[in-house]
């Protein structure tokens, strides 16, 4: 095979010393800054109205859910309706860790660091458990085409809810109470930043363009050698992992979880955020998650109409901005 001549001159700046901060890739710098900001802002949250902090944490959790679902539904184009189901797996697993294993572990090593480590471990276990559930559901169904995934994930969400309703150790239908109050601003936003970082890094690479290629034209993606089932599985597992973490954060925010809190409507709420944000547009999806968390708070007096308003808003937006809130990039202009 003929070698293509190297048309580029070597980088002329390669010998000059680089500033220390340039040693890190841009994405890692943003990650570090985001994590530091989350912790610093959290320090001041004591002086802010507790209700506002609560809403802010809710926003953080919804951002995690929406951005992670966006990898599956938006970028990779797999219509999953099971995000609340994966969230519940993470919520129950993480809560079980801190409630059952926590006292024993903390008895051996008390102190705030131990609490933080315990919580971090619990969230990781919740996330990994959800990712495992994601693989169990995803591997057999991601090979199927079209709407099967929506049906399977919908079924999964309902089954997992019924299971949790019947496990007495986890509170059954009455709910799982007495979960320690670990979730604060720093935890929610730290994980929010980590979710955005992970999804952006995955997608913004030559490897990650394969998620979008899988979505745009599966046969063509396969014809250039991409294992599209594998891409879908990776997206699904990563999405489920962060849903599980969000569930763990949610459990340690509400201190009491109930299987009904993770039902079909919850999944739909997250799907709506992704659609509203413009499938595959991370910034738009973050904005939509913020908007749709604040909106019901503003509309508290008419809370019964929330779903009606959701539908109305969706219809209006689908008509005016079918490509999503922030999607200006690819217009219809032909050259």
């Amino acid at each position: 095979m003929a070698e293509i001549p190297q048309s580029r001159a070597p980088n002329p700046k390669s010998d000059t010393p680089v500033p220390v901060w340039r040693l890190l890739p841009r994405q890692h710098l943003a990650l570090a800054l985001g994590l530091v900001a989350a912790v610093v802002i959290s320090r001041f949250s004591g002086s802010i109205d507790a209700y506002l902090v609560d809403v802010a944490i809710g926003i953080g959790i919804n951002v995690i859910l929406a951005v992670s679902l966006n990898l599956v539904n938006g970028h990779t184009g797999q219509f999953s309706l099971g995000h609340a189901g994966f969230m519940s797996v993470g919520a129950y697993l993480a809560a079980a860790c801190t409630v059952f294993a926590g006292p024993r572990l903390l008895g051996a090593a008390p102190g705030p660091l131990a609490h933080n480590l315990l919580f971090f471990g619990a969230l990781l276990i919740g996330g990994l458990g959800a990712a495992f559930a994601g693989l169990l559901v995803g591997i057999p169904s991601l090979r199927l085409k079209g709407d099967y995934l929506a049906l399977v994930t919908l079924g999964f969400g309902e089954i997992i809810r019924v299971i949790f309703q019947n496990v007495e150790v986890l509170g059954g239908a009455l709910g799982f109470n007495g979960v320690p109050a670990y979730t604060d601003f720093a935890w929610a936003y730290g994980w929010g930043v980590l979710t955005i970082f992970t999804v952006s890094c995955l997608v913004n690479s030559t490897y990650g363009r394969g998620f979008i290629a899988t979505h745009d034209n599966e046969i063509a993606a396969q014809s250039i050698g991409l294992d599209t089932t594998r891409y879908k599985t990776v997206a699904f597992a990563v999405g489920a992992f962060f849903a599980g973490v969000a569930g763990g954060l949610f459990a340690h925010l509400k201190l009491s979880i109930d299987p009904r809190g993770f039902d079909f409507t919850r999944s739909i709420e997250i799907v709506v955020m992704v659609i509203l944000g413009g499938m595959g547009n991370t910034l738009g999806v973050i904005l939509a998650a913020v908007l749709l968390t604040i909106l019901p708070e503003i509309l508290r007096p008419v809370a019964e109409y929330r779903m009606v308003l959701y539908s109305l808003l969706l219809i209006i937006l689908m008509i005016t901005r079918p490509q999503g809130l922030l999607n200006f990039r690819f217009g219809k202009t032909r050259l």
């Binding site: 890094c201 030559t206 490897y207 979505h215 046969i219 063509a220 396969q222 991409l226 294992d227 690819f330």
Partner: protein, 261 residues
């Protein structure tokens, strides 16, 4: 030397329709072959059989010593078969550049985890892929459209981008499905030059499906003719032009002996 690609009695039925019927066909490494026939003859279906989109009902397909039976589409691609599509299948949401870059993935060493850690190996991989994609685009005069969404390209350029994308996977065998469709005569002349060029420069074996006799007769060394799923003739362009069966089934009298466009 055994042929690079070989079809043994390849057959596929869709319900009652036998779209490809006991086709025997071989392509030697380095050759430039044509596959022609009337609409619905089964040409695209042959491509889909070779690339693993469909599994043959009967018969066997081998490529470079591998039996392709049971191989998935991406596995066939990994063995070194690239293709373009009759109805263009570019990645709409990706830029021209990314359409080519994503096709270079097959040759990268780093996977999903490295996209998070972004160590040296990952960055080298990305840089190498970007450089190669730019070189390919440059070579086909598409670099000026680098950041344009693929679907915003003019039609003829989209067809060429599909060829570039297939080349980015570094195939040994390239399958082109009607690359000249919708092109005007001057674009067709460019395409003929382009096909000859890539055949030579990349040391490729090419199988070309095309209705434009000018293109087929102009570039192919050998031609096979399909009709109703059956191979009715095979030979050099001159032989095919004079073949009675081919004239009756497909070419018609105006293409008969030596009256090329």
């Amino acid at each position: 030397m055994p042929p690079l690609l070989q079809l043994h009695q390849a057959t596929i039925r869709f319900g009652g329709l036998t779209a490809v019927n006991t086709v025997d066909f071989a392509i030697a490494e380095g050759s430039l072959c044509g596959l022609i026939g009337p609409n619905g003859a089964g040409k695209t279906t042959v491509f889909n059989l070779i690339t693993g989109v469909y599994a043959p009902t009967h018969g066997r397909i081998t490529f470079a010593g591998h039996d392709l039976a049971g191989k998935k589409v991406h596995e066939v691609a990994a063995l070194g078969i690239g293709r373009t599509f009759q109805n263009i299948r570019l990645f709409d949401r990706l830029s021209v550049f990314d359409n080519v870059r994503v096709a270079c993935n097959r040759h990268r060493a780093t996977g999903p985890l490295q996209t998070l850690v972004r160590l040296r190996a990952f960055r080298d991989d990305e840089a190498a892929v970007s450089r190669r994609a730019e070189e390919l685009l440059e070579m086909f005069n598409l670099l000026r459209f680098r950041d344009t969404p693929a679907t915003c390209l003019p039609y003829g350029e989209q067809r060429r981008l599909e060829i570039v994308r297939a080349l980015a996977t570094r195939p040994r065998l390239l399958l082109l499905d009607e690359p000249a469709a919708g092109m005007n005569p001057s674009e067709k002349a460019d395409l003929v030059r382009l096909i000859r060029h890539i055949h030579r420069e990349f040391g490729l074996t090419i199988l070309l499906v095309e209705h434009s006799m000018r293109v087929v007769m102009g570039v192919c060394q050998t031609i096979a003719v399909l009709d109703h799923g059956m191979k009715i003739a095979e030979g050099t362009p001159a032989e095919i032009r004079q073949n009675r069966k081919v004239i009756d089934a497909y070419l018609g009298e105006e293409h008969a002996p030596l009256k090329a466009e």
